[in-house]
Amino acid sequence: MTAGIVIAGAGHAGGAAAAALRQFGYKGTITLVGEEPIPPYQRPPLSKAWLKGEATAESLALRPERFYTQQNIQTRLSTTVTAIDRSGHQVQLSDHTAIPYEKLILALGARPRRLPLPGFTLPGVLELRTAADADRLKAAIHPGTRIAIIGGGYIGLEAAASVRALGAEAFVLEREPRLLARVASEPLSAFFHAAHTAHGVAIHVNTQVVGLKGEGRVEAVLLADGTELPCDAALVGVGAIPNEEIAAAAGLECRHGVVVDAQARTADPDIFAIGDLTQRPLSLYNRTGRLESVPNALEQARQAAACITGRPAPSPEVPWFWSDQYDIKLQIAGLPFDVARLVIRGDPTSGAFAVFHLDAEGHVQCVESVNTPAEFMAGRLLIQKRKAIDAAALADQTTNLKELAA
């Protein structure tokens, strides 16, 4: 038996890579090493169905436990890779053992960014990345409790929606002038601001948090202007940083993410990196970037598995993302680079509309669709095709999208 493949990280990316390798016919040993005590699961429901008690551990699991036995995938859970020995082709594990590899796939993910502010280590200060995090958050949410949400990004807003669904109070504190400032257009920010306000979430933008206070447990958020906002728990969702330390220590190039090519290869021919961890080519946009999304993790898992099994490289996919809040289904395709103008199709006040981001030549770069799945699909196609389109026709809801995208 050869050394086979070691996958470091058993999140969505690592789990998908293991499954893709078997699907593509890889017959050697596959070892999936993960820090968490459970096999790979879906993180997106943690802030939504899981928090609301509408999901079970089984429905969260990426695949049932028997899958790993049936597919002969070894799992080493509650275990981390602590070092990569590139010349010796082995990884050191936290239990002081080592495992050899022929090919290594790094799927180490990212971790929530922590704020170096007073009081942020108090009990009741929570983050949301893992199922264990979600359970702690869930335990803090009861009818009438007040949950402070620090950071008006997707994690914070999805959690706010779930907090409201559970009958608790939520307020969101955002440093920037608008919600989703780094990740969404102004019309979308405005829409979500209004939607959350209508559901009873207090939104504070342009608001600088300077600390948390409490006796033995968080009791209030302190703002720069001296205001104290009482709370029973605080959820911090202010971005994530890639877990690239062991890759950097092994001499692999890291630039806010492990640098990989379009087949998820690092500069070491025997080491791949996938998912939130990577700084990857964004071929449609002629740049590189780090994407934090399930589709990105799955695309790169397929790239690595295809490369290792000698399959043709899959064609590049349009990056995309989704979020569910209340009855709002948000789907975003593409990335808003080089945007010259926004075209809104549909009326935001109706609750169903899409924002198309066009470059100077009229190519769709990105589409943000709210309860308009056809616009999302058409936008995704248009982004892929790099076809210049007429903004007025796009904005006109009588224009047939299928014909426009054809």
Binding site: Q23, Q42, P45, R63, P295, A374, M377
Partner: protein, 106 residues
């Protein structure tokens, strides 16, 4: 448990047993059946679990909802019997269901 047969684009058939209440997509994913990607995990957000339902089963698998219909109309190789398999719930009535996969999901 109901049995479902998935036929890959290349003709390879996979018959799996699946608990009632799961979706047809989950039946494929949980058993490692190739050809169904299901990137969004069943949120009806991605159209990467596209299948063709054999004519004999179209009535029993029910109607597409508005969102599914909008998504699938843009999928590659869409046909009148195209469905998103995450939106078909497995019931005892679907024992013996046969679905076919398109050339690709992306």
């Amino acid at each position: 448990m109901p049995k479902i047969t998935f036929i890959e684009y290349n003709g390879t058939a996979h018959t799996v047993e699946v608990e009632e209440g799961l979706s047809v997509m989950e039946a494929a994913v949980n058993n490692g059946v190739p050809g169904i990607d299901a990137d969004c995990g069943g949120a009806c957000a991605c159209a990467t679990c596209h299948v063709y339902v054999d004519a004999a089963w179209e009535a029993k698998t029910g109607e597409k909802n508005e969102s599914e219909a909008a998504m699938i109309s843009f999928a590659n190789g869409v046909e009148p019997n195209s469905r998103l398999s995450c939106q078909i719930k497995v019931t005892a009535e679907l024992d013996g269901l046969v679905v076919r996969m398109p050339a690709g999901q992306h």
